[in-house]
Each structure stands twice: as structure tokens, then as C-alpha cells.
Symmetry: none
Subunit: 286 residues, 2 copies
DNA sequence: TCTGATATGGAATAAATATACCATCCTATT
DNA sequence: AATAGGATGGTATATTTATTCCATATCAGA
């Protein structure tokens, strides 16, 4: 047995999600329960947890060993540490960080600014995103034969991330980069059974606008991720997301956009998985 | 013995405070400890608590009985409930949102998972990043004549984001894409007055490893952003950042990495601004 | 200083909890 | 359909944990 047991809760969570696909039915059931109920995992005994999760106590031991722990008790420690830290007052946590860093202008100070601003942006994203829009976007993507992705300048990292994810989902996808001056030629190969994902933030790229217009002309559905509902691109969208990324000293972040991109692609994965009868939270690895 | 055992944590706390004066020396010692360490009281076993509090395990049982409980375990329950609720209260905001939308498997449910996980990852980033490493990275970047950026696959969005930011800071920067098969030719143009920023996450790209090796050979300082301190690339780094991005069911996010990238480039901007006498929080727009 | 009463430490015991084991049941492959 | 390999449930066992008990220490009052 390798000594690869995750030492802290975050690692354990990562390990659970990474290995989720390869786990057996019962072990998966436990992973799901542990994922949703860290507090119960931290506090209760094997028999209580087993009953709540609808499994045998021995399955919990098997689960712990599958993740490299010597037994259940050892696996329980990360959960306890996590719950304990969650329970610690905000003040305490703030102090931990505040101790080690300096002025607001220092690199560490900036990191804190960004970390906090991005956390807020992520929370806003969650609160302001319409569930129906997400559903519509996912079904558009699922039904599409080919996905085109367009994003320039600051939107390019988001576009390339979506491109990466879709390719790992075995979705046929193409990134419209404009490389070699073939942008519109590429764009014109879109058809009504395809879909275009366009990401555009201020200052809006003319190229992106042109590609979206071309898509509309050819009856290609367009999923738009942008930062304002008023710009020309947003008005042409089939589905559109109004994302407000954090901004610190004129530097705009991409955390919220990236998070949305991640949620969209993962939802597509589960949706397709379910459609294929693979069910549940199954998601392709890597 | 009256059945006056406090049922919830608040009542127990009130009882402890009220009876504090009348308790014996050892029991007082326990009350003090329990007052200060509800988390330990909730999670640990009698022997651990006893050791930490500097008393005998049996004294804990006596303490519990003094407050009307049938034994230690019964007294422990209010502590556990309290810690659990404290831990849950942080998540309460998400539950509010959860009311209005569907199952954990739904697109909205996934967005919530990711938003939450990414917020945690950002907090983690803030707590784990060494201020000195940030400072060193910033000064390397500031002193460099030319910045090369390398990131493949999942790291590519991060690399392109850094590339975008550096260009907007009027830093001479080049993205090593490997396009046209000229990767090593490009890499070999690096010199000791330049700097290489390499981003690499599991599964690690061979190309990135080769570029880093080439940089070391040519005495080029290397700033590495990776997800493990154990891989070959990290070991060759001049400065390295160990970033743990959120991962939900096999889908790794980039929020933390992007945030670090943002902090690095912004810190560079303010640093150069200050150096040029532009002072303070000034940062270039766009 | 003596005496009775209470508090305390530590070992012994009881209870519970975690873990190992094995027979049986799936599931995939031929 | 047969079979092998792994997964699962239930129980037996080992280990840990909570609790009791009692000898000794401490303390207050005479």
C-alpha cells in the first residue's frame, strides 16, 4: 500500500473527485456522502455514518483504505481539521493571514486584495446567474455537432480553457484564433447544427463581433459570455451570461468567467453522461 | 440528581460561568479549558482532552456528571452541535441560493459546487503563499529584459493570461507556444538576463520540462507555478509556487492559478511604477 | 495537630468502536 | 451459461474509549 493518503481535507477532496469514476458503486456512494457531509464525517462514529450513508460500517473502512489510510480513524482526521478550521471565527482566520504580510502595496497585500475580490466575484456569479440560462446553454452545447469558440485579448484565456475542456470531453471543438488571417474563413464554415461560444469583455474586439454576426446570419446558436448586457454582441446571443469579474486597480480578473466556463463544461459532461446512461455525477477524467 | 443537564451549548456555557466559583480546583480547570476550546471538546477523546487540559480522564467524567449529564459522551454532544453549526453557518449563504435551484447534478448545482470550491481555493492560496517567494518573483520579473512564458494544455490559459497582462504593462514578453515546431529554437534564444515563467500542472508536459531544462542550462532564472513541489520542474525553479486549484469530480479549475498570475503581474506593475517614481497604487489601465 | 469530609489520581473494568474476516453476491468475460 | 475476480454484507474479534472504583492526598474546622 502506497503512503499516498491525503493529509489535509483539500487533498482528500481532490482525491475523491479524481478517483470518483474508478470507485466501485458502494465506495462511490460513500464518496458522495462524504463530499456532502464533511461535518458528519468529522464527528460521528462509523456505525452512525454508515447508517446515514446507507452502507455497512466495514465499507467505510474499505473506503478509507482505498485512499491509503490505515483505517477509518486516520481518514477522519482531515475532516475534523476542516470542520475545526471552519468553526474558527473569521477574526482568527483573518489574523493568520494578516500576521505574515505587509502593506497593501506589497505583492502579498495585492494577492490578498485579489483573493478577496475574486471570492466576492465568485459569490456574485453564483447569486446572479440564472439557472434557466445555464440549462439552455448546456442543452445547446449537448445538441451541437461542432462547437466553435471565440475569445480575443483578455477573453482568450477563457476561450482556450473552454477549448481544452471540450476536447477532453470528446466534444468536437475548434478555437477561432484568427491565426494566419483565416478568421472569417473559419467562421464561415459554421452551420446551423453547430454552436458558437463567444467570450467578450470591454474593450470589445471587433473580430469577435464580426464572428458573432456571421454566426447569426447562418442561424448558428450563440452562447455569449460578456460583462454587459448592452453591447452589440450580447444582443445577438441565443443565451447570454452577464459576468462581473473582480477588478482591482484597473486590473480585471477572470476568476468568475473561468468558473462559469468550468461549470458549463462540467454540466455538459454530466448531461451527456446521463444521456448515455452513465448516470449521476460521472465525469470524464483528465 | 436533578435532570438539569444543559441541552444546548449556550445553556452549558451559561451554567459553566454561573457555577464557576463553586467548582473545585480541578473542575474549574476543566471549565476554563472547555470555555476556551469548544472545538477540542467536540472532537477529541477523553484521554486527549485530559492530556491537553492537564487533568485525568476521570476528572472529565466527574465534570460532566457535576453538570447533570449521564457521562462525558452526553456532555460532548452540545459541543459537537455547536461546532457543526459554526461550520455550517459559513455555508448558509449557499443554502439560500440552493433553495431556488435544483439538484446537485444540475448545471446550477455544479456552478454552486465550483463557486464554493474556487472560493476555498482562493482562500487557501492566500494562506499558503509565501510572501518572500512573491517578492522574489516580482523582482526577477522587474529586472528581466525579456519574459518568456511557457504553459501547455491546462496551463495554457494561465500562460496566455500572464502574456496578455505583461504586454499591457509594456513588458517585453513572449509566449512559447510551440507553434510551427519552433519551440526549442525559441527557448534557446533565452539569455541570462531574461526570465522564464513556466506553468505546469499534472499531467506534466514534457515540452515544458524541456524548456525549463534549457533555461537552467543557460542560467535563465525560472519562476514556476505548479501543483506539486515534488515534480522535476519544481526542483529546477529559481522561485516556485505550489498552487492547489479546486477540483470537482475530475475537473480541475484555474481560479487560484489565475489569481496568482494576476497578483504577480499587478505587483510588477506597482513595483515598476514606484521605481519610475509614479508612486503608490498606480497601475496601467486596460 | 487531629479528624472528617471531599477531591484527586490512577488502575481496573465495562462499553463502545473500529477493524478483520469470510461467506455470499454481483458483474464482466468467455 | 459457466466461471473467475472483485465487491458486499454481516459477524467475530481486537482495539480503543468511557466509566467506575478505591486508595491516597488535600483541605477545613475543631
Amino acid at each position: 500500500m502506497n503512503n499516498t493518503a491525503p493529509k489535509d481535507y483539500e487533498s482528500l477532496r481532490a482525491a475523491m473527485s479524481e478517483r470518483y469514476d474508478t470507485l466501485s458503486k458502494r465506495l462511490r456512494q460513500i464518496a458522495k456522502f462524504a463530499w456532502d457531509n464533511p461535518t458528519i464525517m468529522a464527528m460521528e462514529t462509523t456505525s452512525v455514518i454508515a447508517e446515514r450513508a446507507g452502507v455497512q460500517p466495514s465499507a467505510l473502512i474499505r473506503f478509507a483504505k482505498a485512499f491509503g489510510y490505515s483505517g477509518f480513524s486516520e481518514m477522519q482526521r482531515p475532516f475534523q481539521a476542516h470542520v475545526a478550521s471552519r468553526s474558527a471565527s473569521y477574526k482568527e482566520r483573518f489574523r493568520e493571514v494578516a500576521d505574515t504580510d505587509g502593506a497593501p502595496d506589497s505583492p502579498m497585500g495585492l494577492l490578498r486584495e485579489f483573493s478577496e475580490a475574486n471570492q466576492q466575484a465568485l459569490q456574485h456569479l453564483l447569486e446572479e446567474t440564472e439557472s434557466t440560462e445555464l440549462d439552455r446553454a448546456v442543452s445547446l452545447l449537448r445538441d451541437a455537432e461542432f462547437a466553435y469558440i471565440m475569445g480575443q485579448r483578455r477573453s482568450f484565456p477563457v476561450a482556450s480553457y473552454i477549448y481544452y475542456n471540450l476536447n477532453h470531453l470528446e466534444c468536437r471543438a475548434q478555437l477561432l484564433t484568427g491565426m494566419g488571417g483565416m478568421l472569417m474563413e473559419h467562421a464561415n464554415s459554421m452551420g446551423p447544427r453547430d454552436v458558437l461560444i463567444a467570450i467578450s469583455f470591454s474593450p470589445y474586439s471587433d473580430d469577435t463581433a464580426r464572428v458573432v454576426a456571421a454566426a447569426r446570419k447562418k442561424k448558428v446558436p450563440v452562447v455569449v459570455i460578456t460583462d454587459s448586457s448592452l453591447n452589440a454582441i450580447a444582443r445577438q446571443a441565443t443565451v447570454f451570461f452577464d459576468v462581473h469579474d473582480a477588478e482591482v486597480f484597473s486590473f480585471r480578473s477572470l476568476s468568475a468567467s473561468m468558473c462559469l466556463a468550468q461549470a458549463l463544461t462540467t454540466a455538459l459532461a454530466t448531461s451527456r453522461g446521463a444521456g448515455k446512461g452513465r448516470g449521476g455525477k460521472t465525469a470524464r477524467s483528465k
